[in-house]
């Protein structure tokens, strides 16, 4: 049975304590690659949150199917295929019915297939939290959405700092990725402090 502590862990915990980027190292590539400007970071963060929410529902259903058929060992292959197909499907649907949202998310949608945070949340929904058989459908969905929001928060903060850093004099070997990593390190120290939040 899912306790209230678990509910708290999959919502507030997913944003602050178990922040995917800064505490669990998932989705680092877009975190470092698409955080040069606040606008693009916002687009990427929203796209990730959106896809993670939908993907968590579909992978949850697929997992039930795999268990029913007794072929759990195909989990990795099945999940990545579902996510890739889903991203493609979401892209086409948005293009047809919500062109404004489509143009806002733009080029970030196809990039998400190889974002390990999406596959990560699908697998962690089943493996972690000490709940036998994984989280319920609603809890999985909430965990995914709040994890996505955690990613959004982290990438927005980093983009803000990097925009400011563009005008600072950074030593030459540190330019680009190294100084970004050190910035992320200091942010991560701050987020680790949230560890005591849930007791």
């Amino acid at each position: 049975m899912i306790t209230s502590a678990t509910w708290l862990a999959v919502t507030v915990g997913a944003i602050l304590v178990n922040n995917y980027v800064l505490c669990q190292f998932l989705g680092i590539c877009p975190f470092l690659g698409v955080s040069k400007k606040v606008d693009t970071a916002l687009g990427m963060g929203l796209a990730v949150t959106f896809v993670m929410g939908i993907a968590s529902v579909f992978t949850w259903l697929v997992q039930k199917l795999l268990v029913a058929l007794g072929i759990e060992y195909l989990q990795t292959i099945a999940f990545i295929l579902v996510i890739a197909a889903l991203v493609q499907l979401i892209e086409m649907t948005l293009k047809k019915f919500m062109p404004s949202l489509y143009s806002a998310l733009g080029v970030y949608l196809p990039l998400i297939t190889t974002n390990c945070a999406v596959l990560g949340v699908a697998i962690l929904n089943i493996q972690s939290f000490g709940v036998v058989g994984g989280l319920s459908l609603l809890a999985s969905f909430l965990n995914a959405v709040f994890s996505g929001l955690g990613f959004l928060l982290a990438i927005l903060l980093l983009a803000g700092i990097r925009e400011r850093m563009d005008v600072d004099a950074v030593p030459k070997p540190f330019k680009g990725f190294p100084i970004t990593l050190i910035t992320a390190s200091i942010m991560s120290m701050a987020f680790v402090a949230f560890g005591g939040l849930l007791g």
């Binding site: 493996q127 050190i182 390190s185 120290m189």
Partner: protein, 268 residues
């Protein structure tokens, strides 16, 4: 005959050293950051992750290269992902059976090798347009470059963060070194996520400095050679000028001699 053989070996060596150093996936291409940061809390898990990714990289590169003429261009990315996912699943099962310590150490990052950008990037950029043997070598070079980077980061973080060297166990055999009282003075920050970002940032900056110094040296060498060539060209030009002057002088002399002869004839 032996010369062309030498050339072939040089080429093969270049493919491997390209992955190991020149375009090291971690420090130069900045690919596959998630496992790089997540599992490098000790040198042993870094090495394990690196080797696991190398196995998948070599196998997927080989198969992608083998099927490069069969896979239609439009569906190549899903096909590559499927090939990679198959090998990852195989590896997962093998590790769970034979090295369970490593299996639990790598945790969720083992299935996540599927979305490691290095593997898809090499399938797309190298294996899908090159011979099978070259693709295998490329996979080996890139994989070992990744392994080297992960082991180095793991070594630094483990040494500062827990005060041990290469602690780990396979089955019942444990190995590794604990250095006297060092663990008591260790900085646990370095095995936390923050330490991962910090170590990678510092090591990457060091690599950047080394690379730019090497490039500067190379540039200076090239410039010196270019200056030499320029000088030689100038000399050649000077010689050509001298030649032309000499020829002109000769002609003038011949002309005056002819004139003289003509004048003499006229005088007669």
């Amino acid at each position: 005959m032996s010369n062309s053989k030498n050339n072939v070996w040089q080429q093969k060596g270049k493919i491997i050293s390209n992955g190991l150093l020149t375009s090291n996936p971690t420090f130069r291409l900045v690919l596959g950051m998630c496992p790089t940061l997540a599992v490098t809390t000790s040198a042993f898990s870094g090495l394990g992750m690196g080797l696991a990714a190398t196995v998948v990289l070599v196998c997927s590169n080989a198969l992608v290269s083998l099927l490069r003429k069969v896979i239609p261009d439009k569906v190549r990315i899903p096909a590559f992902v499927l090939i990679i996912a198959t090998f990852v699943s195989l590896l997962q099962m093998l590790l769970q059976k034979f090295i369970p310590t490593l299996y639990s150490m790598l945790g969720v990052y083992l299935p996540l090798i599927v979305v490691n950008c290095i593997i898809l990037a090499r399938a797309e950029a190298f294996a899908s347009v090159n011979k099978v043997s070259d693709s295998i070598l490329d996979g080996l070079g890139m994989g070992l470059g990744f392994t080297l980077a992960l082991t180095l980061l793991g070594f630094i973080r483990e040494f500062i963060g827990s005060g041990t060297i290469f602690m780990g166990s396979i089955g019942a055999t444990e190995f590794g070194l604990t250095l006297g009282k060092l663990p008591e003075y260790s900085m646990s920050l370095f095995v936390l996520p923050a330490g991962g970002f910090l170590t990678l940032g510092l090591v990457m900056a060091a690599f950047n400095a080394i690379y730019s110094a090497a490039e500067k040296k190379k540039k200076e060498k090239m410039e010196a050679i270019a200056a030499q060539i320029e000088e030689a060209k100038k000399e050649a030009e000077d010689f050509a000028k001298l030649d032309a002057e000499l020829a002109a002088a000769n002609e003038a002399q011949v002309n005056t001699e002819e004139n003289k002869a003509e004048n003499e004839e006229v005088a007669k």
